[in-house]
Subunit: 202 residues, 2 copies
Amino acid sequence: MLNISDSLESLIDEFAKLPQIGRKTAQRLAMYIIRQPVEDVEKLSKALVDTKERIRFCNVCCNITEDEICKICSSHRRNKNVICVVEEPQDVYAIEKTNEYKGLYHVLHGRISPLDGIGPNDIKTKELLLRLDENKFEKIDEIILALNPTVEGETTILYLSKLIRPLEIKITRIARGIPIGSDLELADEVTLAKALEGRIVV
Amino acid sequence: MLNISDSLESLIDEFAKLPQIGRKTAQRLAMYIIRQPVEDVEKLSKALVDTKERIRFCNVCCNITEDEICKICSSHRRNKNVICVVEEPQDVYAIEKTNEYKGLYHVLHGRISPLDGIGPNDIKTKELLLRLDENKFEKIDEIILALNPTVEGETTILYLSKLIRPLEIKITRIARGIPIGSDLELADEVTLAKALEGRIVV
């Protein structure tokens, strides 16, 4: 771009840093911003700083929250004997939306991925173990590993189950199979194999 | 999403208002923001407000600028006898990058699109005519209509050429044809027809 304005250049640079936003999209977003009323731009600007200021990680489950301990961990309605381990905060919402799960969560904030240089210490594994350790008095019956069925997810499952096994807690993982509404024909072989393997009695 | 934080909700809402950003992407962007250092988030927040505050439209060509009159319009090196009419500020940069054009510009900030309720008065057509009128003493030799070869672009070209024709200024439009590096075989019939029609002597 021509050097029209340093602030515009810097806005494009900042937009382009966001995930999955390339330079062209960043330019388009900046042009959109220029055309919006001042109040709208200020709203977005304020929401950014506010969110960053207020959001922290729950001391127990590492999910995002505005409090020391998140609403799920501090709720009396949740079953404190089950912990569902997920990769990202979004996964918590996805599971909550099913209305099927009433236990607690643990958010790893990532997955083990040696190729990306992400080891066990870069995600919240220590916090999980500490939690299981501290909770010796409160009985944890089951750890559900609800990680993504990817190579990285599998690596993380292997690693975590090795660490948790000595604690003699039941470890489960969510089923891999054909998604509802999909077609057997369209499923890849690995998914189909896992669906067969995980068959249940009707 | 669970109601975790009002500021987070509002950030997701604001992100989702941006063009081509859906709710899922907005959530992903918000999660990314949460993980960034405070300084980086403040930079983006500041760039938004700064850009909105400083950027205005050039009094002459309506391109974006920080000054009353943009750098191209105020430059002594540009040929003031040719005006290239484009839809968006981005188009100015695209043409500038070719290093082939030394005239002035006029940015319409849109195109006539009856289906979207955008008429001639919603884009900077008045400003163009005023400019041609005012410049009676300065001779404009040519108006290049560099609009997109879409239905809306064509409508705008028709409308503008009808208005400009009485002023007895040469009106041209950029060529439609096969893009460099592409294949005749891959071109649609309309493009190929226009490429034939616009053939030049070698």
